[in-house]
């Protein structure tokens, strides 16, 4: 009766199912976790990744590594997703989240293999994760926002904890101060794009500086630029979206003339239009003219003659930041250049940074923006510095919004592990074992910290367990002395929201992967693409 085989699905469809499928998914995720495992912590190593276009990236940021890796395994992609999610929500702790998820799965694996129903595991994990999150909230120490000094020192500690695991760990004091200062300048929404980061190769890391205003690279300039003054104090700044060049007034406009005198008039008119614009700008009292669109050589020389500075083709983002810093607004026409649309700042100058010239606007009245000028040797090095600073900035932003902190360095994880273990003892049934497994999984963070630092992980973990059992809730790994220490006293602080999000995301991903028992892969559609089988399957599912 089974003569020719029954073809249920399209040819080439690949499917696998059952417990082996879950186990294989777990293994795949384990491999991903292994890829980033060694980057955790202050003594973590960096990865050099060369992508298919030959571009080299050096990083120890979990999210960056996973993104560059271009993973195709469907289950493992989930881990990439949670790293991205952590990046989006908190900005740091991406390695931890992947590591945690990997370890949760690893701990669940023996139970699945023994035949425990995955849904039972999932329920236990969800419950444990909820307990852990509550515990973090309970343990977190509130920092008084009312006291700016105290808040600032809290932010500094959070930033330096974040930076200590990065490439720039040696300069963490220097950079954490810079990062905190930068974030404190922003307004209450703390928009990230108001912190500009400019990378300039050359010089040493310590030559990096924070500009309390805007800085951008000198734009392309025409002849006459040299004659313009390069420094003003208290100038008025006009921000334009106008092309100051001789050009056609409108595309597809046509002029028909019937005699020679008319021709000369037209030419004159064109010049007059340009000069009118320039005059209006000059009369407005602006000293610095910035435009998104090109400023031609006529205009450049005109401004130079009148002791004004101009820069055309300014990147839009920079122009916006200048607007935020100096006030005023971007004008698409020069017809209305009143004082209230002109910005101002205390000092404008053009300076030499490395091989490039930079335009600096400092002492801005509103200064809701700032710019970090990063210096450093290799290009990859600066890029990694940028990513590290980005992480630190995100951490500081989060810490500003949620002012609760916990101790890092594995301390909070050890405490959670102990708490969950205690909780598990009070539960009857299979969940006890599973919650215990999750408790064990939390230990991966301190263990990995030790391993990356080359310590005897077992020994240190034993010491940690002991001190946590005796009530030392903030004891974590002391990287400097190969020992344990009270990390709260040692000021290894992290915002509690980082941990909460990491636990939630890791638990969600674990549950997702455990809940899948079948993978069905349809063959990739050929060049026709898009269309499913006719009549059905097109369109999104409800």
């Amino acid at each position: 009766m089974m003569q020719p085989q029954i073809i249920l699905l399209k040819e080439g469809t690949d499917s696998s199912q059952g417990v082996p499928q879950i186990v294989s998914n777990i293994n795949a995720c384990g491999a991903i976790a292994d890829a980033v495992r060694t980057t955790l912590g202050p003594r973590g190593m960096d990865k050099l990744i060369v992508d298919n276009s030959g571009k080299a990236t050096i990083s120890n940021d979990g999210a960056t590594i996973l993104k560059t890796l271009d993973i195709v395994h469907p289950a493992a992609r989930t881990l990439v997703d949670i790293a991205k999610s952590q990046d989006a929500e908190v900005g740091d702790g991406t390695t931890s989240v992947v590591l945690l998820a990997g370890e949760f799965l690893k701990q669940a694996k023996p139970y699945i293999e023994e035949g425990v129903h995955p849904q039972v595991v999932i329920r236990a994990f969800r419950r444990a994760a909820a307990l852990a999150v509550d515990k973090v909230k309970e343990l977190a120490v509130q920092i008084k926002k009312s006291d700016p000094e105290e808040q600032k020192s809290m932010l500094l500690k959070c930033a330096s904890t974040s930076l200590s695991s990065k490439l720039v760990a040696h300069q963490k004091e220097f950079f954490s101060k810079m990062v905190v200062d930068a974030v404190l300048m922003l307004d209450e929404l703390l928009p990230l794009n108001m912190i500009g980061i400019k990378k300039i190769t050359g010089g040493a890391l310590e030559d990096s500086r924070l500009v309390d205003g805007v800085a951008f690279k000198k734009t392309f300039s025409y002849a006459g630029f040299e004659m313009q003054p390069k420094s003003y104090s208290d100038p008025k700044i006009a921000l334009l979206n106008v092309e100051l060049e001789l050009k056609a007034e409108k595309e597809n406009a046509e002029i028909r003339i019937d005699n020679v005198t008319e021709y000369q008039k037209i030419v004159d008119a064109e010049w007059k239009i340009l000069y009118d614009k320039l005059e209006k700008i000059h009369l407005s009292g602006a000293k610095v003219v910035l435009s998104k669109l090109p400023i031609g050589d006529v205009a450049t020389q005109y401004f130079a003659d009148r002791d004004m500075f101009c820069a055309g083709r300014v990147v839009e983002e920079d122009l916006r930041r200048t607007m935020k810093a100096c006030g005023g607004s971007i004008q698409t026409s020069v017809g209305n250049l009143k004082n209230n649309v002109l910005g101002t700042c205390q000092k404008f100058e053009e300076i030499q940074v490395g091989g490039d010239r930079y335009n600096l606007f400092t002492g801005c009245p509103q200064a809701k923006t700032c710019t970090l000028l990063l210096r450093g040797g290799a290009e990859q090095f600066i890029e990694e510095t940028e990513r590290s600073l980005h992480d630190a900035i995100m951490i500081v932003r989060r810490a500003m919004k949620n002012d609760a902190v916990v101790a890092g360095g594995g301390a909070i994880e050890m405490e959670l592990s102990k708490y969950l273990r205690d909780c598990s003892r009070t539960i009857a049934g299979k969940e006890q074992l599973l919650m215990g497994a999750m408790a064990k999984a939390f230990e991966v963070i301190p263990r990995q910290l030790c391993e990356n630092a080359g310590f005897d992980a077992t020994n240190i973990l034993n010491k940690l367990r002991q001190s946590h059992a005796q009530g030392g809730r903030w004891f974590g790994v002391d990287i400097l002395n190969e020992d344990i220490a009270d990390n709260y006293e040692a000021f290894v602080w992290e915002p509690s929201v980082v941990k909460i999000n990491a636990i939630t995301a890791a638990a969600e991903a674990t549950c997702l992967i455990l809940s899948v028992d079948e993978t069905i892969r349809n063959p990739k559609s050929s060049q026709e693409g898009g269309g499913g089988p006719p009549g059905r399957g097109r369109g999104r599912p409800m």
């Binding site: 249920l8 999610s85 990046d87 406009a253 698409t332 939630t504 899948v516 069905i520 599912p541 409800m542």
Partner: protein
């Protein structure tokens, strides 16, 4: 001239070369049943709250992680003609009720499995199908008696949440209470406005980051966009909505501007500027502080909007624009003209917010009720959020079904067992060979509690015997207890596990019809696939009734 007339003997020689042809019990019926069973087996493990998810990678390499049967099937591209009939049946269910698709598939699969046994016993196909149809009729007659609750007040949030819980539970086990409450809030808030309930009025916006439990409800709309201009916040504002681009009008026909003399040239751009300013000013004069445009927003327009302190937003999707109009009560204007007071919409708060690192623009109404509500889903991976979205869709559809029919039956397999019990009794009193088929129908119903139990990792047979014992005592609402340590039963009504009457009604109907249709096919003729452009799959539905 005697042309050679081909003999007309076998079926095969009448067809084009390469066509396939199967007939008879062995070749056609059993093979069809086999295929359908196979399909049902795939989704069976996804049934119920403890169902496992499937990872489906469709033909454009998109990954789905779900246990929603409708999604799995639509991404699977089932090819077997008989199995496709089951897919169509689930599709009908999806359209009719929007939930309970897996029930149809699993039940139809069970019916066919039992039919195979009967056929092997020697019953004819007609007897089996007639018996099934008779049993179905009886089942649908009994079903109204099993109704245990009526959802009287659809504006009572807690009651609605309770009714939605079961539907959500089968997708998002563990988060059902949270989600059911969220969906109930959303549904109720758009219910009060008018009597008819439109599924489209509940929007879902997915934003990566945080966890499922951080999802929230916004009265109004949320778009993942940023504003065009500098104004980012506006409250108590009038809104003008344009379906056209907010820019200097371009003529459709290609034209050139003809300039005759220098004067005209000088005034040209000035005139353009004035024109835009006038437009914006006239809009501003009507008191509008927010402009939404369906097309491009010209730089000049942005400039003047900034000048007049107007928040300007561009929405690419026509649908979004239409929904926004509904949410704020505006009329979209096809030309840039100042809106009349009736045409302008109103919204309490319009602002840019940052959720995770995604900038969103929120149109929020202060009052409790609005015509459109958005559920903002948070989650750590795209797949989780997609699955949440499906769960929410199921929940909303359940609510929609409730607005049509407020009856609820006990879930967790209680209804099926009760039906099975009663149908068995009826079957025994039926004369003729249909008796066997009716009894098998009853047996097929058992598949629901059996699958629920199996998926929960409990011994199914043990649970079934417990269930039968309880139902024999007259406890009609006892169902499978998935949370018990071993085999256990509990009162589904007490536990708040309620299914829609409609879902069961249509589910049984569609499943039986589909099963009977598959059974009635005794010949399969497959034409050779055309080599040219994508031919439609062989038409299998030419079923000969026998």
């Amino acid at each position: 001239m005697a042309m050679h007339v081909p003999r007309a003997p076998g079926f095969a020689s009448m067809l084009k070369e390469g066509a396939k042809h199967f007939s008879g019990l062995d070749e056609a019926v059993y093979r069809n049943i086999e295929a359908c069973k196979e399909l049902a087996k795939t989704t069976r493990s996804a049934f119920g709250p403890h169902g496992q998810n499937k990872m489906v990678i469709n033909h454009i390499e998109k990954l789905f992680v779900t246990n929603d049967a409708a999604t799995i099937l639509s991404e699977l591209e089932v090819q077997h003609p008989a199995a496709k009939m089951l897919v169509l049946a689930t599709h009908q269910q999806e359209l009719e009720v929007g939930d309970g698709t897996n029930f149809v598939l699993v039940f139809a699969g069970a019916l066919l499995e039992h039919a195979e046994m009967l056929l092997r016993m020697g019953l004819s196909v007609t007897e089996v199908t007639e018996g099934y149809e008779l049993a179905m009729k009886k089942a649908l007659e009994i079903l109204p008696d099993l109704v245990c609750e009526n959802q009287k007040d659809l504006r009572e949030r807690t009651a609605v949440a309770r009714a939605l819980k079961t539907s959500v539970m089968s997708k998002q086990y563990g988060n059902e209470d949270f989600l059911a409450k969220l969906i109930a809030d959303a549904c109720v808030s758009i219910m009060s406005q008018k009597s008819s309930f439109n599924v489209d009025n509940i929007r879902v916006s997915k934003i990566l980051g945080a966890g499922v439990l951080q999802s929230s409800l916004v009265q109004g709309m949320v778009f993942r966009r940023a504003v065009e201009g500098e104004v980012t916040k506006m409250s108590k504002c009038k809104i003008a909505v344009y379906s056209c681009p907010l820019d200097i009008m371009q003529t459709e026909t290609k034209g050139t501007v003809l300039i005759k003399n220098a004067e005209e040239l000088m005034n040209f751009s000035q005139g353009e500027e004035n024109l835009v300013e006038e437009q914006i000013k006239s809009i501003s004069d009507t008191g509008c502080t927010v402009i939404v445009s369906g097309g491009k927003v010209g730089e000049m327009a942005v400039h003047f909007c900034n000048k007049y302190g107007i928040l300007i937003l561009r929405l690419m999707s026509k649908w979004d624009l239409r929904r926004l109009c509904k949410a704020v009560g505006a009329t979209p204007l096809p030309r840039v003209t100042p809106p009349t007071p009736e045409e302008a919409g109103y919204c309490d708060n319009v602002y840019i917010d940052e959720v995770g690192d995604t900038p969103v623009i929120v149109f929020k109404q202060d009052k409790e009720e609005s015509s459109i509500t958005t559920i903002m889903i948070r989650g750590s991976t795209d797949n989780i959020m997609d699955d949440m979205e499906r769960a929410i869709n199921d929940g909303v559809n359940t609510f929609k079904a409730l607005t049509r029919d407020v009856r609820m039956v006990p879930g967790a397999g209680a209804t099926e067992i009760e039906l099975a019990k009663q149908i068995t009794t009826i079957g025994e009193s039926t004369p003729g060979l249909e008796q066997y088929a009716i009894k098998k129908f009853a047996e097929a119903l058992e598949v629901v509690p059996r699958t629920i139990a199996e998926n929960a990792g409990v011994k199914a047979t043990e649970v079934l015997s417990l269930l039968y014992a309880a139902h024999q005592e007259g406890k009609k609402t006892v169902g499978v207890d998935i949370e018990a340590a071993g085999a256990g039963v509990r009162d589904a009504q007490e536990a708040g596990i309620l299914d829609l009457y409609l879902a069961k009604f249509w589910g049984i109907k569609f499943a039986t019809t589909a099963a009977c249709t598959v059974l009635k096919v005794d010949q399969i003729i497959m034409a050779k696939m055309a080599g040219g452009p994508k031919g439609k799959a062989p038409g299998p539905q030419d079923d000969d009734d026998d």
